[in-house]
């Protein structure tokens, strides 16, 4: 298992640091902007609902980059390092590593350039580039990339059904919160339509369009004697993660 898939309910972490800012260092804004640009230029957007003309956008970026890629990077980290580094430090590590691994840049170039900026942080950035790149990125922000796909099928579960969450062997990436594995809850809402995911998660089971449910879990069913009275948890779960509860099957 990966700790990053099982954060919910982890004990002994101490107080929460209530830092209300979005960015705590100026440099964090830059990696955020780079990530958004990658998402807005991602090769898969030609197949998105707005049918973005990404093939005609004159950017050298030719990869697929979605939330799934960023999440996979975070989920692949050493679990202690996941806690050690700040949010945007993890982004910088993952995104920098991606551009090196995909051959856009070399680690040597990056280190040499970083050494220059470390010595003289006031050095300017290069200028110029084709505005159509920016137009596509902003258009992506305005129009998005909905995971809703295809005609609505017939959902396997209905409101009020008791469902037990699957406990498939862990994979590289999942959208199943670990604290819900094997637990039983009640379907409170069936979302209209079917929803895909950015990539196939293999045996984990999501990727192709499928129904999604809001499932209500009572606190004692999740945490036993550690439960807080009157605090219910809702998971938004893809159909692949649900089975009819044993009590229903009898």
């Amino acid at each position: 298992m990966k700790l990053q898939h099982h954060l919910g309910g982890l004990e002994n972490l101490g107080p929460v640091a209530y830092e209300p800012r979005v960015f705590v260092e100026d440099w964090e804004q830059r990696i955020f902007g780079i990530h958004v640009a990658m998402m807005g230029l991602s090769a898969h957007l030609g197949d998105a609902v707005p049918q973005y003309p990404v093939e005609d956008v004159p950017s050298a970026f030719s990869s697929v980059w979605t939330w799934a890629d960023l999440r996979k990077g975070a989920e692949a980290m050493h679990p202690f390092a996941y806690f050690q580094y700040r949010y945007y430090e993890k982004w910088l590590g993952g995104i920098g590593g991606f551009f090196v691994s995909q051959g856009y840049i070399t680690e040597e170039e990056l280190e040499a350039k970083a050494a220059e900026y470390l010595q003289d942080p006031g050095l300017d950035l290069p200028e110029g580039g084709d505005e159509r790149i920016d137009d596509q990125v902003i258009r992506y922000l305005r129009e998005g990339d909905s995971p809703r796909q295809g005609p609505a099928g017939s959902p396997a579960f209905a409101v009020g059904d008791r469902v037990t969450v699957t406990d498939v062997p862990p994979t590289e990436h999942t959208r199943l919160p670990g604290n819900l594995r094997g637990r039983t809850g009640t379907v409170e809402r069936v979302f209209e339509g079917n929803y895909g995911y950015f990539c196939s998660t293999g045996p984990d089971g999501i990727g192709e369009p499928m129904p999604v449910y809001a499932v209500r879990f009572e606190p004692t069913d999740l945490w036993g004697e550690l439960a807080e009275p009157g605090a219910v948890l809702y998971g938004e779960l893809y159909q692949a993660y649900l089975t009819h509860a044993m009590e229903e099957q009898q």
């Binding site: 970026f61 919160p177 550690l226």
Partner: protein, 207 residues
């Protein structure tokens, strides 16, 4: 973030230099332009801010029928307001509002990452992304809320929404007392990001 790790003294300077180097190389190689990052940041500074969420909440407080539509079909209700273009754009494709009542308080979390309804709330504050908050809010949300100053009555059901699917949840807090006769604009000015995530109530305006 906890300070239990031995960090190098020039931690931030190194990150700053590395990200600047990365941006410079990406501009040089034609991946992005010299203006791309600034344009993205500008978009969030001017168009996609918690002000949008605050306007939605204020409308819900003054128009009960809108409040009902907002919970039933959030994107359609949001589209009724004169907000910046892009409310159903990135991370707003499937907005979902949940409304607080005297008997129910809602809290939005994301235990797997940091899903957040960008168009209505802007970008997430650091505490929301902190693994400590995400881990603890799933199991002991009342304790977590109490630490931040919200002491919920035991009779109130606390509903915690873990953003593990396609929906991007936000909370419609309760209208505070002492706001009778206020305009929608005045009401919107009271609404905080924290209240729309669910770790706080909207405070009563000072009399």
């Amino acid at each position: 973030m906890t300070v239990q790790f031995g960090y190098p003294e020039d931690r931030e300077a190194r990150s700053a230099a590395r990200v600047r180097a990365l941006e410079a190389l990406l501009i040089e190689k034609g991946v992005i332009t010299g203006a791309t990052v600034d344009k993205v940041l500008g978009y969030f500074e001017t168009d996609m801010t918690p002000l949008n969420g605050a306007k939605i909440v204020a409308r819900a407080w003054t128009d009960p029928e809108f409040a009902e539509r907002l919970v039933k079909d959030t994107p359609a209700a949001v589209a009724e307001l004169a907000l910046p273009i892009g409310m159903d754009g990135a991370e707003g494709e499937h907005l979902q509002a949940v409304a607080n009542t005297p008997g129910v308080h809602n809290l939005v979390i994301c235990t797997l990452c940091s899903c957040f309804p960008w168009p209505v709330l802007g970008l997430p504050p650091y505490w929301y992304k902190d693994p400590t908050f995400r881990a603890r809010a799933a199991r002991e949300p009342r304790v977590v809320l109490k630490e931040t100053g919200l002491d919920l009555d035991p009779s109130v059901e606390l509903r915690v929404w873990d953003s593990s699917g396609h929906s991007r949840w936000f909370v419609v807090p309760q209208r505070p007392a002492g706001t009778d006769g206020m305009t929608e604009e005045e009401l919107a000015a009271l609404v905080t990001t924290e209240s729309m995530i669910g770790i706080a109530e909207v405070p009563s305006p000072a009399a």
